[in-house]
Symmetry: C2
Subunit: 218 residues, 2 copies
Amino acid sequence: MSEAAPRRAGRPRKAILDRERITLHALELVSVDGYEALTMQRLAKSLGVAASALYNHVSSKQDLLQWIQELVMTEVDTSVFDREPLSEALIQWATSYRDVFAQHIPLIPVIAVLPVSDSPRTLNMYERVAQSLRTAELRDEAIVPTIVALESFIFGSAMDTAAPHDIFETRNHKDATPNFTQAVSDQRATGLNTSDDSFQRGLYALVAGLLATGSKNE
Amino acid sequence: MSEAAPRRAGRPRKAILDRERITLHALELVSVDGYEALTMQRLAKSLGVAASALYNHVSSKQDLLQWIQELVMTEVDTSVFDREPLSEALIQWATSYRDVFAQHIPLIPVIAVLPVSDSPRTLNMYERVAQSLRTAELRDEAIVPTIVALESFIFGSAMDTAAPHDIFETRNHKDATPNFTQAVSDQRATGLNTSDDSFQRGLYALVAGLLATGSKNE
DNA sequence: ACCTGAACACCGTTCAAGT
DNA sequence: ACCTGAACACCGTTCAAGT
């Protein structure tokens, strides 16, 4: 109805910045130069404004990270719950979740402590998982612990992807650690990426075990 | 044999600082004021020296965190592997490991990326676990992924203990998330701490599943 | 060899001043 | 309402100078 907001004469002087532009720019900066490049000053520069201008729109860097988190969360695939049986859906969802945050490791400490009410999309995801678990006859009181346990494993596994490939190199300690040194060599012989191999084994174990012990029929 | 290091006349002028004193002071500072208080300047002040003096002994703050990590790792109880059957030993070890690092969450990103050869005590712990897994007839190539999967879950769970108790408060989103809101209420009704409940359920599932699928007899 | 004090290149954040 | 520029209180780290 109303033609425009009440405004004095002259150029409208529209704002350069808003949440969307700031968040997208931040994500772009991160994807190119990594999280160590995400400083308020550098972000401001890439937006062509002074660093202090950002504080007209975001109250702190912590807040900015929450905006990014909210955006990144949309990349996690929850559609599998509509078409796959529960076990398979959980496995595919968890894999997607872990792959996404492997690219955003510095966000993990942020999410882990962020109240869900501050992140509608995360809450939405939880609702979807909770609904599937309930339909699958998981005991009511087991639903939240099942989600939290899976998420802890997902976050830990995402962080593990940052480990250097030779993290288990035992070097001159070989003699003192024969079993572990051998085990490292045996895993390496499979040709599988250690993080991926570990995640998959753990995920299958976790999903199977959580559904079994949380079931109403046990 | 030799009485003393060759030295010019006068007072021996022994060093005030060394790795042990620095590390213990840092740990004390952290236990009193938390990790946000652990800055090189504050640490130096509590040691009665200038911040620059620290750099005669430690090459970076990252290095200092590794020293602390090495010390904290000694608090993890690995003695259970000597007296308990494998499943029970893994559960008790993991519980100890998680409880220790729940007090040292900022160290987790450090450990996750630290080559084991830089941390003899961690390597020692791995050897102990690997030895037990091998003795229990776990397939050779499954040993490392089993340890890594457990560790990822442990680190993720340690981080989760930092979550505020009302992290799942759904507030004004209740209508849109009926299943999750109900699940939160049901878990709360058990009276169990959510992090502890989740950790225990996940740990049992993980240990049982990993030992089953990694066994030579499967 | 080991410590001090000053300095450097950054951080995140605040605030008076402009439009 | 929204932006600039200067400033503040910190960081980790370096380095010439002293003993």
